[in-house]
Amino acid sequence: MSTTPELLIRGGTVMDASGERRADVRVVDGRVVEVAEGLEAPTGATVLDAGGCVVAPGLVDLHTHLREPGREEAETIETGTRAAALGGFTAVVAMPNTDPPLDSAESVRNVFALAEGAMAQVAVAGAITVGRAGEHLAPMAELAALGVRLFTDDGDGVQSAGLMRRALQYATGLGVTLGQHCEDRSLAAGGTMHEGAWSSRLGLPGMPSEAEEVMVARDIALARATGGRVHFLHVSTAGSVDLVRRARADGVPVTAEVAPHHFTLTDGCAAGYDPVFKVNPPLRPQEDVDAVKAALADGTADAIATDHAPHAPELKDLPFDQAPPGMLGLQTALALATTELDLPLVRILALLSWQPAVIAGLDPDHGGTQGGPLSPGSVANLCVVDPTATWIVDPTALASRSRNTPYAGRTLTGRVRHTVLAGEPVVIDAEAQR
């Protein structure tokens, strides 16, 4: 990597897992070298103004759909990581439902190659089953050797309990985590939104909460029996939250993530039949929104993960039941958390940065460079956040190739001012540098 000029982040408040302190941060050759008040800027150094801001480890998204290879009209690794950087993320975990799917060493190596020079570190979640078809295990050991720490068939859940059990046993031997998109297909049965009062009124087939909860319950039982680590993707119902809470109290090795749309939007948003509100798991009623917010507050949920799912505009113009599910999320996640969650900023950063870094195996304790405390010697993956800046979401101004954000026109409080990736300032004053 070419040598980047020295960097001084001045005037901010450093906030990481070890606490909060007023300090400037100096970065040389991609690493933090000094964290102290009143630092001087050496000649030739780039100075990033962090006045009024918080300087934190870069955010880590456990759940991003980069679409490349196979659906580049919706997003590419380049545009997706640009959006990530603008959202304060220095690492994303790319989901395997690409075309071809990420179920082989070749396809994973291909993504790593495409991601070289990207504006965020791209880690990969490998598929659990070949082709994500839910029938045969994918070569997890081979992928783990390439550095894959998280496996999931996301887009779908593993339908067969027997196969999931075998996958968990195998995974335990490898020390990797299996992520589950909990959706029992026989219960979800072609549903396009949450099954309830709204779906009945709108005349749309619905997915009942049980479709998610039966698989959460099943996998908790399997994790308990096998000792394997299960991470629940996009938990969305009160029932799922209760199950996870009880499992953790019992010491079962499960973790859970929540997507921002599940703590900010409800199923009533579908009233106008606009497919921008169509997502899987679907938007739920207020009781479920309240439950996932409580899960984020009390530690039942370990992370906020965007489930960034770009779709070309023509596809979101289809009738509601035909349109593909999914919403953009990378550029709005942090701001939605700061605006809508009644939590201290350090807790929000934990949910978006160092906790997901651990689940993804990207933290310093696992040989990674993400989420770690800002101390001399650590790799400089940072974001600088202005917690009071307000901005309005404009779909045409987002870096993604697609426009499907449900927050168009919404005013949010909290904005990423700068993002530093391995010492390189990739975002300065909310503008991507490349």
């Binding site: 099954e195 309830g196 009062a197 779906s199 009945s200 009124r201 709108l202 005349g203 749309l204 087939p205 619905g206 009942p208 106008g272 039949y273 606009d274 023509e314 113009d317 289809l318 009738p319 509601f320 039941d321 035909q322």
Partner: protein, 322 residues
């Protein structure tokens, strides 16, 4: 009376006064239909497009006849025809239609919500929902109301007599846009609506629905019914999977000759069609004088003329103050 809405997407768009007005105006169009030359120049120079993504010759012809009887020009686009190419997006089709210049577009689609989305995309064009997925079929409900009003004695008293009227809707309510429209329509006029269906054919939630009750026992509600509205089991929408067999369904929910005898003498029988004789209604019951099914079809044209007239004849383009 509040101004007629710009589109007719759902019975929710109409309040009781507006519904009464539609029925009153329908009387005038019913008279037109009785003439030797059933035509008036009311919509001369206007263009009405029918866009039927789901096949339905009867409903499409009813709308087209309505438009033609008002001297409008009619363009038909149907799913099978080459005008609606496979793969051409709905949005592109609508843009093409708009570019040609339509005053109204009448849409039937198998996906709920399509007319609502189209209404957002068009300018100076009235959208009429001719049936969207499971959601609504407002003109069907209006013609049912008109048929009942005829039986109740018509005129202004007609809609007052709906108050307290006991209406029973039987069948696959879960998947029925006709049922949803009917429930809203009857309730708006003060009728008491009871739903009768096996539990699997009711919507997942009835929260907020303006109904008086639900029953799984058809026999128990018959003698307290003034209007019985039968729905078809919609095999093409997958209803068959919700009951073990058609025979079991008919045993519990078909209006057989025996059941028809249990109805009060003045009760009216309605069916939106097409009927599957032997499944939800016995053949001989469909021929009873109390079965108004043929009237429903005849009234359909007049009701649709009234709807088009109210949508296009009210000068929305001009400001109210003029």
């Amino acid at each position: 009376m509040s101004p007629f809405p710009a589109h007719l997407l759902s019975m929710d768009d109409l309040d009781a006064a507006t519904i009464a007005e539609v029925l009153r105006v329908t009387d005038s169009f019913a008279e037109v239909g009785r003439r030797a030359n059933p035509k008036v120049p009311a919509l001369r120079g206007r263009t009405v497009a029918t866009l039927f993504f789901e096949d339905s010759t009867r409903t499409r012809m009813s709308f087209e006849t309505a438009a033609k009887r008002m001297s409008a020009d009619v363009l038909s686009f149907s799913a099978g025809s080459s005008s609606v190419k496979k793969g051409e997006s709905l949005r592109d089709t609508i843009e093409t239609i708009q570019a040609i210049g339509m005053d109204a577009v009448i849409i039937r689609h198998s996906s709920s919500g399509v007319p609502a989305r189209v209404a957002e995309w068009v300018d100076h064009c009235a959208v009429v929902n001719a049936g969207d997925g499971w959601h609504q079929h407002p003109t069907q409900a209006l013609l049912d109301l008109y048929t009942v009003r005829q039986s109740l004695g018509g005129g202004q008293e007609g809609t007052d007599r709906f108050r307290g009227l006991r209406v029973t809707i039987v069948g696959d309510i879960r998947h029925s846009r006709v049922a949803r429209s009917q429930i809203t329509a009857y309730a708006a006029l003060g009728a008491e609506v009871t739903l009768v269906a096996p539990a699997t054919l009711l919507p997942p939630s009835l929260e907020g629905w303006p109904i008086a009750g639900v029953s799984h026992d058809l026999d128990a509600v018959l003698d307290g019914t003034d209007v019985i509205s039968l729905l078809r089991l919609q095999a093409e929408r997958g209803s068959g999977a919700y009951v073990p067999t058609m025979r079991e369904y008919s045993a519990g929910y078909a209006l057989t000759a025996r059941r028809a005898l249990q109805l009060p003498p003045a009760a009216i029988i309605l069916h939106p069609g097409p009927m599957v004789r032997g499944v939800e209604i016995a053949s001989e019951v469909a021929e009873l004088p109390s079965a108004r099914i043929t009237d429903q079809v005849g009234n359909g044209v007049a009701v649709r003329m009234a709807v088009l007239f109210l949508l296009l004849g009210q000068g929305h383009l001009e400001s109210e103050a003029a």
